[in-house]
């Protein structure tokens, strides 16, 4: 491994900014966040960076390393080409606070727009049992650490800035966790189309690629939800069946 490496870090605030190069010593086992901390300690005491766990579990240290949305604490230097400067930028989809820190609070507001869990009545035996296979399907979605890397890379938010129309992949995962939960009695299908804009996702899977928890966002959350939206709102046959059975939302 190289003895030292150059990091091209975005520095600035809402008034403006640009890249600045820092060369620092590197050693075996280091991650990008270690290097950023070392630069902060030795060369740039005022460099703003958000982090917490350094174990890929708090979702705080999201940034763009060499143009790819990544957790800085989970990006080992030996995965990167250190012969060229390594660029480290804040997430581009969100408003900048300073240096590597962005304001991700839009996500919390968007999440509040999704109907929360509402328990169905207890079964005949007075319990809320669920089968392992049904629990497993939603278990995957609960691994989300809310790093918002998927929101950052999603072109609907990142390039088209449709924050008012599309809740983004993270919240599709959240909606899927609730909607497919066998104990939940609420219904989010109409909301998914009209309020959360699921139709804006064009299944290009960038969100799945960047998720540090390996959640299969597009295939397991978004597409199954899209299919449920088709059942409810587009497919004349399923609508007719519902009408004949006399049940539910036609």
């Amino acid at each position: 491994m190289a003895e030292s490496a150059t990091f091209r870090i975005w520095r600035g605030d809402t008034a403006g900014g640009g890249f600045q190069d820092y060369t620092t010593s590197v050693s075996e086992g280091m991650v990008v966040l270690d290097a950023v901390h070392q630069i902060q300690a030795q060369q740039a005491g005022d460099l703003a960076v958000r982090w917490n766990c350094k174990a890929g579990k708090c979702g705080s240290c999201s940034a763009e390393v060499n143009g790819n949305p990544r957790l800085m604490c989970m990006t080992r230097l030996n995965q990167l080409d250190l012969s060229a400067p390594v660029t480290v930028e804040p997430m581009r989809a969100f408003p900048l606070v300073r240096d590597l820190v962005t304001d991700v609070s839009w996500n919390y507001r968007a999440k509040q727009g999704i109907r929360p869990f509402r328990a169905r009545p207890a079964g005949a035996d007075g319990t809320w049992r669920m089968a392992q296979v049904d629990a497993e399907r939603v278990q995957e979605f609960r691994k989300c650490i809310e790093c918002f890397l998927c929101q950052d890379v999603c072109h609907v938010l990142r390039d088209h800035r449709m924050f008012d129309d599309f809740a983004g992949p993270r919240h599709m995962v959240y909606a899927a966790a609730l909607e497919m939960n066998p104990l939940d009695a609420d219904d989010r299908v109409r909301d998914l189309r009209a309020r959360h804009g699921i139709g804006y996702c064009n299944i290009t899977k960038c969100c799945t690629k960047v998720c540090p928890e390996g959640i299969t966002i597009t295939d397991n959350a978004i597409i199954p939800l899209k299919e449920r939206v088709v059942d409810r709102l587009y497919d004349p046959v399923t609508r007719l069946l519902r009408l004949l059975r006399g049940g539910g939302d036609v």
């Binding site: 809402t14 900048l96 606070v97 939940d184 199954p224 449920r228 059942d231």
Partner: protein, 269 residues
Amino acid sequence: MSATTAPVRLPVRRFGETARSDRWWIQPLVVVLALTTFLVYSGWAALQGDHYTFGPYLSPFYSPELLGTSPHNWFGPPPASWPSWLPFSPALLILPIPALFRLTCYYYRGAYYKAFWADPPSCAVGEPRSRYRGENSFPLVLQNIHRYVLFLSLAVLAVLFLDVWHALWFTDPVTGAVSFGVGVGTIVLAANCVLLSGYLLGCHSLRHVVGGCVDQVSRAPLGHRAYACVSCLNRRHMLWAWCSLFTVGFSDLYVRMCSMGVWQDFRIL
């Protein structure tokens, strides 16, 4: 930082602009080249209306041959009233089904939106247009017909399996006697069916139909098993999609080349 500054975002990247240092353009380029090659070949082959059978083999582009002049036809030759200005080929009657299936397939959609429409060109790479409607409204909302096309395609797949069965019975050109046999062509058609099954049976819409549509898949034991199988194939949907695209094209090429006398079909059994 002063307390009064309003939050700003870094500017949206221009078309093709990115901080990625890898060769991100290779993947969309490969998709464009592969799909274009297939489209050109299949379009040409479908319009030929000739050399689509050889012995007991029938090209999958032409199956089922609803109207046609080969021994494989179902309902006889095309009607005499067929307008002469309209080109006729048996493939034109059936190929729209598999074509529409691939066009509306969730995997291919994502792939061609990226490769042909640069929406986005690749992850975290700037886009050419700022206007965006996605699949939320017309025309792309029509992609939701995928489930119907799936059922039609499954019917076509069943016919392709029947073709493999027919491809096991060879007629002796001299005596006219029919005997069991296996040729390289039989293997090609069978392999195509296996890969097409892997592709169709891993479809996202099928996954929804067999179990994804309910929260308690466990309630129906059969549905649960079917859901597990479809989900298993679905995990490699992209791979099945490309492999079956290749074999379906190759199957046509094989039959065509044999029929034109360019390639020799070998009998194994």
